[in-house]
């Protein structure tokens, strides 16, 4: 709408500049602190212009936090969550929208219910499950008295001690975070808007269901997949609580966890310069993803919250 409101427009620019400052200022100050020596970072007041030690501090941070390994872990976890969640979600969304089979609605509701509880409210039992993923099987075996039955039949005593420990493994880090069905619903919503004629035509041409999936449905979903992938990558990279429980082996920690070990405690050297460097390094990969793929990112954010 064309309307002359010079004063309001100026105010709006001022507000937005304020918003920009609010975002940029903490990052800038972290950068300044990251470029100082240990003595300089303790000066009062803190300098407002960067000095020249950023690369030194970055090297110190990188080495003392073993970021080589931790960044690799973070990438594996983030990509694992992204690929894993999208793959299982696409398949199950395809199943519940394109097939008629018994218990279809049961499957639908089982998946639906999983949207409701974030992992934070079930951490300790989830931890137990991951510490021994065979626990439910063992429990079932005990319940059914498999061992007694076996002894009665054959006279042999067997000890059932299944164990499948996933602590300090990538599957242990990744799988529990895939266990929610938000992406399934996103794809289901999208599949419901795909024209019926495409499937009818595929069936008339004698295409198998999987062929329809690969050659028609998947290419159509490309932009949804891309948008969701960005959100899931950020989600995976930025996870904290779950990897925190897994850091019994320092080599399996993620970058975000390694970073917190560099933050000065009350009785240690106030090496905030190194900590701020590490913080900037750790936030860089997801920030680059968002900055470069801005358009898909916004779509993914809005879609995945529906």
């Amino acid at each position: 709408m064309v309307e002359r409101t010079p004063l309001l427009n100026a105010a709006c620019h001022a507000i937005l500049l304020g918003g920009v400052a609010m975002v940029v200022l903490p990052l800038y100050l972290a950068f300044v602190a990251g470029s100082l020596t240990l003595d300089q970072v303790q000066e009062v007041p803190l300098p407002w212009v960067p000095a020249g030690h950023f690369l030194d501090n970055a090297r110190t941070a990188w080495q003392s936090a073993h970021f080589n390994r931790l960044f690799l872990n973070s990438f594996i976890v983030a990509v694992g969550i992204t690929v894993g969640k999208i793959a299982v979600s696409l398949l199950s969304a395809f199943a519940i929208t394109y097939f008629r089979f018994p218990f279809r609605m049961t499957a639908f509701w089982l998946i639906f219910v999983s949207l409701m509880l974030p992992i934070e409210v079930r951490i300790s039992p989830t931890y137990e499950s991951v510490a021994n993923a065979a626990l439910p099987l063992q429990w079932l075996a005990e319940l059914l008295h498999v061992a007694d039955g076996w002894r009665a039949l054959t006279g042999h005593q067997v000890e059932i001690a299944l164990e499948w420990n996933m602590v300090n493994t990538y599957p242990g880090l990744i799988l529990p975070l895939i266990a929610s069905a938000s992406a399934t619903f996103l794809f289901r919503q999208f599949f419901l808007t795909v024209p019926e004629e495409l499937c009818e035509a595929a069936r008339l041409d004698g295409a198998s269901p999987m062929r329809f999936f690969w050659t028609i449905l998947l290419p159509l979903s490309r932009s949804n997949i891309a948008a969701l992938a960005i959100i899931l990558f950020l989600y995976g990279w930025n996870q904290y609580l779950w990897p925190l429980l897994f850091t019994t082996d320092a080599d399996m920690a993620t970058a975000v966890i390694g970073l917190t070990k560099l933050v000065p405690k009350a009785d240690s050297l106030p090496a905030w310069n190194v900590a701020m460097c590490a913080a900037l390094l750790t936030l860089l990969p997801p920030v680059i993803v968002v900055a470069v793929l801005q358009r898909s990112f916004v779509k993914g954010l809005v879609d995945s919250s529906k």
Binding site: L117, V121, S124, L175, I178, L192, W272, T282, P286
Partner: protein
């Protein structure tokens, strides 16, 4: 929507049984192992009393809940959580609303402003916490020094209110972008004919915003309030753990942090599970509210 029929099945579909079961298997296996079994175990644990080493387990009914409600520490934790989420919610929505209004009005530089304001979404809550912990660190933090200069005795390590202000600021800083993008999309979705009609009637931009824009944003605001509560209840764990560890003297000991300390540090599994169940109930209500209102909210494609 052109959905085939009302139960979400396409009109053109396949009548097979084995294939869809195979397709669902990965999802359902993961859900069973890492969602349903843990959730059920949390539910049963809440009614059990077990010693920290898991040697003896005893059914105690609602005792864990009764003890929780009687506990001063737990009531304090609930109170802290309420104060935190309300403050965070108000700050986030107010800032996002002002920014969205301004973004909707300006023409030049709009894309750049938006890109920068969105950046914190990519930053982990724990990193946001660490950044703000540094800025407000009483010894070296530049903002703490400014406050000192202004005569404020700032010390989040000793003063509970200061610690709360710190975590609210850190949590809001990270989350404003989320509310902002939804409000901006909501403003863009308002038919321009409405605004034009009001303009012809002589309503100035601010007045149009308050009498037309804001009421039409109602559903979006409600949705965001729900999402902010979910964020404030669950995702704030990282900030608390990295910045205040619930202190000083329990001033920032929010419920999700207490679940963690009681379960993994104090090894009081029964109480931790009972707290989990209370949080589950809350999450359930929030999700249902979200679904109830989100359906009216689907036209964001911009």
């Amino acid at each position: 929507m052109n959905a085939g029929n009302d139960n979400g099945l396409k009109r053109a579909h396949f009548d097979k049984v084995r294939l869809p079961v195979l397709l669902l298997l990965p999802q359902l296996t993961i859900l069973l192992l890492f969602f349903f079994i843990p959730s059920l175990r949390a539910l049963t644990q809440a009614f059990l009393l077990s010693d920290p080493f898991g040697n003896s387990v005893q059914f105690v009914g609602f005792d864990n809940f009764r003890q929780l409600l009687a506990s001063e520490v737990y009531r304090e934790s609930v109170q802290v959580t309420v104060v935190f989420t309300l403050a965070q919610n108000a700050l986030t929505i107010a800032a996002a609303l002002v920014l969205a209004f301004a973004s909707d009005r300006v023409i030049r530089g709009k894309g750049l402003y938006k890109s920068i304001i969105l950046l914190p979404y990519a930053i982990a809550p724990v990193i946001a916490g660490i950044l703000w912990a540094f800025l407000f660190n009483p010894a070296v933090g530049p903002l703490a020094q400014l406050l000192r200069g202004a005569g404020v005795a700032w010390d989040p390590n000793r003063n509970g209110t200061d610690a709360m202000v710190l975590v609210v600021l850190a949590a809001s800083w990270k989350h404003i972008c989320y509310d902002y993008i939804f409000l901006l999309a909501g403003l863009l979705a308002i038919p321009s004919s409405l605004m034009e009609a009001a303009a012809v009637d002589g309503a100035r931009p601010l007045r149009r915003f308050f009498t037309i824009g804001l009421p039409l944003l109602g559903p979006t605001l409600f949705f965001l309030a729900v999402m902010n509560f979910v964020y404030g209840f669950f995702e704030v764990f990282a900030i608390i753990h990295a910045v205040t560890r619930g202190g000083p003297a329990g001033a920032t000991n929010v419920m999700v942090y207490k679940v963690f300390t009681d379960g993994f540090v104090n090894l009081d599994l029964g109480s931790s599970a009972a707290q989990s169940v209370i949080l589950m109930a809350f999450a359930l209500v929030m999700t249902l509210l979200q679904f109830r209102y989100v359906e009216r909210n689907v036209n964001y494609d911009s």
